[in-house]
């Protein structure tokens, strides 16, 4: 359920609160998407698109945090391995 794809807002086409639309870019293609659920998104922001409409704005800071957490897991893992190796 719920294939959601991140795309970047290129520009707003219509700012109507309910029927507003923006041009969104996904890799090399663009599509106009209803923006009613993400009125706060601005050009340059990333939004998650599902069934053709933007359903949420992607939080860049949170994404960076997640990647940082991952990096620390990787570092732990590496330490763990090196220590195991040195034990041997």
């Amino acid at each position: 359920m719920c294939l959601g794809v991140p795309g970047q807002v290129v520009e707003w086409i219509d700012r109507d609160p309910l029927f507003g639309r923006a041009l969104i870019e996904f890799g090399g293609i663009r599509r106009e998407c209803p923006m009613a659920c993400v009125p706060e998104a601005e050009a340059g922001d990333y939004v998650l698109v599902h069934a053709g409409i933007a359903i949420t704005r992607i939080d860049e800071q949170q994404a960076r945090q997640t990647l940082k957490d991952l990096a620390s897991i990787a570092a732990d893992q590496d330490d763990h391995e090196t220590s195991q190796e040195s034990e041997r």
Binding site: V5, F26, G28, I29
Partner: protein
């Protein structure tokens, strides 16, 4: 069929109004109207020494070589799509089939099945495109036929082209010759035609419909033949069902398995984005201007170099290899690197939301 606007008209670049001259059933009845249609609209576009009279049978001259013969019927909705149209597609499709069989395409026949009511200007545009594509591929259209069917019995226009090519040594032996260890190449980014057609047919992308790769693969085949000819096992253009369909077919014939590497598969940004958005796998999406090649592993990098020297094939790459037969005929290494099965395509790809 369900739209009041016929499917071919939606993307047609020719202006059409009520006054446009249209094809009627009488155009197909073999009488004066049909003779004039052929003499005035069709023949002049395909002037060739062999076809001046468009007799029932054309005669051609060869110098005692083996021939490749194939036939293919073409229908595409919409008739005009970004990067091509039905006319050029009908030529390239058949020419490509001849080329990957190891032949030099020489002659084509062209059959038209026209739906009553098709504006003659649209027909002419398609015919122009047929003739331009034939010129590009240096093939001659030597015989043809025209039928008109009642309104509703066809979707605008169907084309059938049959082709004859002269086989040139070394002719690739075909999928039965594929052995364990052979490398699988593609000559360019996959899935461009399917995405182009899908995006205009269903109106998925308003702003920047990606272009189809519809075109001739003759140059690619020649480049391969000249560099690594004797070491090519099989070639195929990856049309309906994409790369996956070709490999599944080969797997059945050679009784081996194929393992691909997802990260090696060349994609354009447009196809990548469209496939993510619609939930499609590009390996199932049709191309009309690139080929899949199985080649002896020792000559794989030479083959890639040869392909990359052809314009439009700069992204040619090895995408996988042949392994001993397992239960799963085609599998693919994705992010984690363990091979996962790549199913046989079942029917046309449907966009999904989940």
């Amino acid at each position: 069929m369900m739209d009041p606007v016929p499917s071919w008209a939606r993307t047609c670049p020719v202006p059409i109004d009520e006054q446009s001259e249209r094809i009627s059933l009488a155009h197909g009845e073999g009488a004066r109207l049909s003779r004039r249609l052929i003499a005035e609209r069709i023949l002049p576009r395909f002037a060739s020494p062999d076809a001046t009279h468009f007799q029932d049978a054309a005669t051609v001259t060869t110098v005692g070589c083996r021939l490749a013969i194939c036939t293919d019927s073409h229908t595409v909705s919409p008739m005009f799509f970004p990067g091509g149209d039905l006319g050029s597609l009908a030529v390239f499709g058949t020419v490509n089939d001849l080329a990957v069989a190891g032949s030099h395409p020489r002659w084509l026949t062209l059959s038209l099945i026209i739906e009553e009511g098709l504006p003659i200007s649209v027909l002419e545009r398609i015919l122009d495109s047929v003739s331009e594509a034939a010129r590009q591929c240096r093939v001659r259209i030597v015989a043809g036929d025209t039928k008109v069917v009642p309104r509703g019995a066809a979707d605008g226009l169907y084309l059938n082209t049959s082709g004859v090519g002269e086989l040139i040594d070394p002719v690739p032996p075909g999928p039965c010759a594929i052995r364990v260890g052979d490398q699988i190449l593609v000559s360019g980014p996959v899935g461009q035609h399917g995405i182009a057609v899908l995006s205009v047919r269903e109106g998925y992308f308003f702003d920047s419909a990606p272009l189809s790769d519809s075109g001739s693969v003759i140059e690619q085949v020649v480049a391969l033949r000249d560099s690594v000819g004797p070491h090519i096992r099989a070639m195929r253009d990856a049309t309906r069902g994409g790369v996956s369909a070709v490999l599944h077919e080969w797997a059945t014939e050679c009784q081996q398995s194929f393992v691909l590497s997802e990260s090696a598969v060349p994609l354009t940004e447009a196809v990548r984005g469209a496939c993510e958005l619609l939930g499609l796998d590009p390996l199932y999406v049709a191309s009309e201007g690139m080929i899949v090649v199985a080649v002896d592993p020792e000559y794989a990098s030479e083959a890639v170099c040869a392909l990359r020297s052809v314009k439009g094939c700069e992204q040619a790459a090895v995408i996988g290899e042949v392994t001993t037969r397992g239960i799963c005929p085609v599998s693919i290494r994705r992010v984690l690197g363990t091979p996962q099965p790549l199913d046989e395509p079942s029917g046309a790809p449907l966009p999904r939301i989940c």
